[in-house]
Symmetry: C2
Subunit: 348 residues, 2 copies
DNA sequence: GTGAAAGCGCTAACAT
DNA sequence: ATGTTAGCGCTTTCAC
């Protein structure tokens, strides 16, 4: 690797001047020498030795990204959004996966500290805020798409309340009055947020909700199947089911079809997350898509802002999702979308 | 951050001795001082400054991971496998996403060079080998799950031929003799490998293949739909269709169902990749799963081996996949698996 | 078995 | 506007 010294030698200037130009310092250097140095650096293929720079400046252009499950439905897209912004500014990311069970979280942070990362991004992590702060040495951080309870002014999260009301309102607009709900795992804060949004939206519209219409599920297809069976067995059948995510919705769909009913004609079903499941099931499932890439971008912008200004009074940012109308809700536009996506004639 | 100097001071020894202990040098240090230094380092929470170490040793404990699409179906799991091995050995990964279109590949590698990465992993990349080597400065590298043509002794890739023959043989064992094929995008080397394996397996079993039974597709659902329609319109209907991936298989499934036929009763269908699609479609699709996590692990082990021995004569490693029997092929065990997975009574 | 000291490439404080 | 130089934390050669 070619060093600053060689560039200086070839350009016929001191290494200090070269450093000033090549490290984007705002120190004044004449246009002529600057241009010359840039030219020489380009010709010899100079690339700064980050270790040396980092040792000197205590900054590394490295951002630590810590997540619970790298291969989740959300993490990869969020990370792409983060990188999209960060790479353009010359930062690289050290992405480290820490499963929930693992006790080595502090070690990982310490390790990243050893690499002098400039800041941290936590994706889908649940680590209590206080525990985290101790380890962070006052470095900037941001939390994206977190799970669980505590609120944190540094977080960028989906607006669960708004998103959940989106699908419920959609059903109400389609004329449904008896809407049932399948909730997600009770441990998750988002479960109760989504459930509450459903209840509030129903009440605000003046519609009651029967006890038998609310089933406690566990985020997966079999659970959706069982919950729907319970709902179907209630005193008064609902005309629609809102599920807390697409897997539950798909399970519910299977149960409704197995019961000999038609979707959406007899019962409409909507989900949440815009999984592949919702795009592929038959009928396709109306759902809410989360702007994951955008959330990653916002997180990174937020971080860059902290890095530049050290101004630390941020507020939790709630990001709205988007209603994706497909077949399972019975809205006319959903059927057209389906036919277009699959280049397939619509049934009958 | 606490430095080696402080540890030395507290332990009452020189920094050289501390370095010998804490950098796992094989230089002899007495058991007593070694234990003491370790104890002190633990107490004060010492973590080495990687920049300083890297500047001195020209090694960084950083591995560059370059991939085309971070949020593909395969990449995240492969990266997890890579990290699973590498993290345990004290390496961290710099994961960089470079879309195919981008022209900045050389820059990215140079950038990673600047960070003194010790080695490279290329995931799903197609960069011609020769172009790549020039930029790599003789650093170790490995290629996982690559696409496109050239062979490379440093690559760990699925055994397309074996995997593809797996599904075809499965159909033959179930008694099928007229098996059609929907191929993937012609640009992909894996497409022709899978197609060839199908042809070879059919011929080896003594069965002919009609022209109308082979359709050229493009890796997506609509393409599978159209290809299946073409196959259904051929002179003699096949009793089974092998698709080059699960999306094509799912498209084919839709077409067969739309044609009023039953799957697997009238026509069996099998896919490839073990997507969520294949797990969720109705009927579920028999397919081949790729051991992506394992491939990542093997790639990392391979890299560690290169890093330690500088012994560079490796051979391309072909990794076999596993047949996943579900409903769409008509095998009896597939139906049982389906019922168990969905906790749902099997239809009639 | 241990210590002293040089120096990796760079930035920034201090000259000029 | 440019040059000189100290020193970031670490490893390693050399001396003892």
């Amino acid at each position: 690797m070619v060093t600053i010294k060689e560039v200086a030698h070839i350009a016929g200037v001191s290494i200090a001047t070269v450093s000033r130009v090549l490290s984007n310092s705002d120190y004044p250097v004449s246009q002529r020498t600057r241009a010359n140095i840039l030219k020489v650096a380009g010709e010899v293929g100079y690339s700064p030795n980050r270790a040396a720079r980092s040792l000197r400046t205590e900054r590394s252009s490295l951002i630590g990204v810590i997540l619970d499950n790298f291969s989740s439905l959300w993490a990869p897209v969020i990370v792409r959004g983060i990188q999209d912004v960060l790479h353009k500014k010359g930062y690289l990311t050290l992405v480290v996966n820490i499963p929930w069970e693992e006790h080595s979280r502090a070690d990982v942070v310490k390790d990243l500290m050893g690499h002098s990362v400039d800041a941290f991004v936590f994706v889908e992590t649940w680590h209590p805020v206080r525990e985290r702060l101790d380890m962070l040495n006052n470095k900037p951080y941001v939390i994206v798409h977190r799970l669980f309870h505590e609120s944190d002014p540094h977080s960028i999260i989906p607006d669960e309340t708004y998103n959940s009301s989106l699908v419920v309102k959609h059903l109400l607009e389609l004329g449904h009055e008896k809407v049932a709900y399948i909730a997600g795992d009770a441990n998750y804060f988002s479960s109760s947020q989504r459930l509450d949004a459903y209840l509030d939206t129903m009440h605000a519209a003046g519609f009651g909700v029967r006890d038998g219409w609310i089933a406690q599920g566990e985020w997966c297809i079999p659970s959706g199947y069982q919950c729907a069976q319970r709902i179907l067995a209630s005193d008064e059948m609902p005309s629609a089911i809102v599920a807390a995510n697409d897997e539950l919705a798909y399970g519910a769909l299977l149960a409704v079809l197995d019961a000999g009913l038609k979707v959406p004609d007899d019962i409409a079903i909507v989900g949440y997350d815009n999984n592949d499941i919702s795009r592929i099931s038959n009928p396709t499932i109306t759902t809410v898509s989360l702007p994951l890439f955008l959330m990653g971008q916002i997180a990174a912008e937020n971080l860059l802002c902290q890095l530049q200004t050290s101004d630390r009074d941020y507020a939790e940012q709630l990001i709205p999702g988007e209603l994706i109308v497909r077949q399972s809700c019975g809205a006319p536009e959903g059927v057209e979308v389906y036919a277009r996506d699959f280049q397939r004639a619509t049934a009958e």
